[in-house]
């Protein structure tokens, strides 16, 4: 048995998640937001692993879902960054507060 209680892992991932959300909320750079989202996904992954390790009868399940999450993260990064590049080409900026056409 691993010596760490589940609660600690959960709180750790909660903090990581919160940091990620903070980044997504306050970063001006879109790439910064994407990075923060990676952190959020990572926190979710840790939770998946921890839960499947501690509470699930079939421990491989969490890993499989984590793999799916990682794949989705990779796709989101690829598409997101492609969008960022396209945006940069058109608007010459990657700052969210300079891309605010869609308002009243």
């Amino acid at each position: 048995m691993i010596g760490i209680p589940l609660t600690h892992i959960l709180i750790f991932s909660l903090l990581l998640f919160a940091i990620g959300i903070y980044g997504a909320l306050v970063r001006r750079n879109i790439i910064g937001i994407l990075i923060s989202i990676e952190l959020i996904l990572n926190a979710a992954n840790i939770n998946l692993i921890a839960f499947s390790k501690y509470t699930s009868p079939s421990p491989e399940m969490g890993q499989i879902f984590a793999i799916f999450v990682i794949a989705i993260a990779a796709t989101s990064a690829a598409v997101g960054l492609a969008i960022v590049l396209a945006l940069y080409r058109v608007r010459k900026t990657v700052y969210t507060d300079e891309v605010n056409l869609l308002k009243w």
Partner: protein
């Protein structure tokens, strides 16, 4: 060997701490390139935690995909969009304060929830989950999501290429 176990435990806590510090770096540093490197460090730290949780395969995947692919992509994007000189401009917008307050409340609520919930702990087995089990589960029980993921990957690949491609039609006319 209790000493080794303690060492492992300590190692995991240390990894957690490192990850948190680097994660804070990710969201606070002004230089975006440093942020990306911090992200890489945080992700590697997460992989170490996975190792501690006996998820070796996932740790490998984590490093291969996140550090090897995602972070590289991010850095690529940074290099293509930032100017080489990298003037340090303001990186955070004006909503830091409400975000921090909200997050504090969020963390407090969820931490209380985590602490108070009686988790249905199972006696986790010592054995590592072998790659074969994961493979069989992927190809058996979870074959449908697996295929869906592969389709999504293809779609994302093509989509990314199409989006990022320079629009040539305008130049020719």
């Amino acid at each position: 060997m209790p000493v080794l176990e303690i060492a492992v435990k300590f190692g995991i806590y240390a990894a957690m701490g490192t990850v948190l510090i680097f994660a804070l770096g990710v969201v606070t540093l002004r230089n975006l390139f440093h942020c990306a490197l911090c992200l890489a460090a945080a992700l590697i730290g997460t992989a170490v935690i996975y190792l501690g949780l006996r998820a070796d395969f996932l740790a490998g995947i984590q490093i291969l995909l996140y550090v090897g692919a995602v972070v590289t992509l991010v850095i690529f994007a940074i290099m293509l969009t930032e100017h080489l000189a990298g003037k340090t401009v303001r990186q955070n917008n004006s909503q830091s304060l409400p975000a921090v307050i909200g997050l504090a409340a969020f963390v407090a609520i969820l931490a209380a929830l985590i602490v108070k919930t009686p988790w249905p702990l199972q006696a986790a087995s010592h054995a590592k989950i072998s790659v074969m089990e994961i493979g069989q589960a992927l190809m058996g029980t979870y074959v449908f999501p697996f295929e869906v993921i592969s389709v999504i990957l293809i779609a994302a690949l093509i989509g990314a290429v199409v989006i990022a491609k320079k629009d040539n039609s305008g130049e020719q006319s």
